[in-house]
Symmetry: C2
Subunit: 261 residues, 2 copies
């Protein structure tokens, strides 16, 4: 089964576009979870068990594991292995380098860590993105219009009569449209609507609801019926600092899914 098929089936089965971000931060761990690498795995295990029938994907941002060094990445790998096989696993690594180097990153994220999908930074152009797209049964989300304030600095600048992020989407689609997707922040719903007029078939990874303040209703409207992974991280996993955190995380996830229906 390809990553795209996995995403579509999980979306259908769970009637959900929700992507829960497993952005671990041991200083925020609730009562009863040890603030160490075993704690990371146990925290993720409880979150995954409490939410896996409510999501179409999980997203692991490499930074939050890498900050704990090699042991942190080991805990990430163990956490990935806990995710049921029928849910899309997104490695949010934002990689991108010259051709032979991107090839090494693709191998690391898809083969060594076992992710189904990856996020990739497009700044360096075609030969930095292609090595990821060459994994035909995997899914590559190219950064397009991100959810952060810094998206004003370069992404939203005009190149001729279009913005850089529109050019990124159009060019990248020429490099491979079968197993590509785009990262488009929930903080920009009107731009998502515009991007959906360019292509309404490929999946969007949409972060920014929850802690970053993106509007779920406006995002859903802008995305229409197209495939998407709408990501919430902190708002779900740190909804409670009590020992029943997983139960509370489930409640928050249920509310998102209810809004999606």
């Amino acid at each position: 089964m390809t990553a795209i098929e996995k995403l579509h089936q999980a979306t259908e089965r769970n009637k959900s576009l929700l992507c829960v971000g497993l952005d671990v931060d041991i200083s925020k761990f609730p009562d009863g979870i040890s603030r160490d690498m075993d704690g990371i795995v146990e925290f993720n295990r409880q979150i995954i068990e409490a939410t896996s029938d409510l999501v179409n994907s999980y997203k692991l941002n490499f930074a939050f594991y890498e900050q704990y060094g090699i042991e942190g990445l080991e805990a990430m790998k163990r956490s990935i292995q806990l995710i049921p096989n029928n849910i899309l696993i997104i490695g949010d690594a934002k990689r991108g380098d010259i051709g032979n180097t991107s090839k090494a990153y693709a191998k690391a994220v898809f083969e060594t860590f076992g992710c189904d999908a990856i996020t990739v930074a497009p700044y360096m152009g075609k030969d930095s993105v292609l090595p990821f797209l060459e994994y035909k049964d995997k899914l590559t989300f190219v950064l397009c219009l991100t959810s952060n304030p810094g998206s004003e600095d370069f992404e939203k600048q005009n190149i001729g009569d279009q913005t850089l992020y529109e050019l990124v989407m159009k060019r990248s689609l020429e490099w491979g449209s079968e197993n590509i997707g785009f990262v488009t922040g929930a903080t920009h719903p009107s731009e998502i609507e515009k991007l959906r007029r360019i292509n309404d078939k490929v999946p969007f990874l949409i972060p920014g609801i929850g802690a970053q303040g993106g509007d779920l209703k406006a995002t859903l409207k802008a995305n229409g019926n197209s495939p998407a992974c709408i990501n919430a991280s902190r708002a779900v996993i740190y909804a409670s600092s009590e020992s029943n955190f997983a139960e509370v995380a489930r409640k928050v996830a249920e509310n998102y899914v209810a809004e999606m229906k």
Copy 2:
């Protein structure tokens, strides 16, 4: 001592702008080096011992270690510890994410892996770059105009009357000019000259000589007397596949340094 001071002192002491890239690939290892993680450390040890009086910096591209998984990153960390304390260590990680996430990456590269400098992708703008610049005694190289063919796709596009890469340089300099540098490929000497008119004080990390075909003479002329780390990787470390590879690597490095004088 700050990273910038370390770079200047190493440049003076060794009369060299050479940066050797420790881009390991166990399939290319010479006779007598085991094709495993211990081999990586031994290979790097021999290259470092043979060249550390000829360089101002070493560059480790995370991709080439990450492709071997967690054990590969462990070998990278051990290799970093073998580099003399008076040579700049560049973690070529090309990271960049929203603010709180970039903060975690900065911690990983500067604190956990112990690099003096990092490469950062600017696509996501100011809040993705600032957390790196906040490490005042470290050095952050922002991707500007890269050496690969894909630099045509976005970096060289015009935004108003300037290219994206010029805008990246100008904006980034506003975010912090004391501990910033830029990645500018040796395959574009005339553009390097143009960028040196914007700023001739900050260091450039210039990859692309050697295997990628950049012209060292033209690069040196374009860079003038400004600080730089001129990077060669494959052309130095894989100059020979015999057991005397380190000696041959030294010869190649000596030739580069002679050309720089």
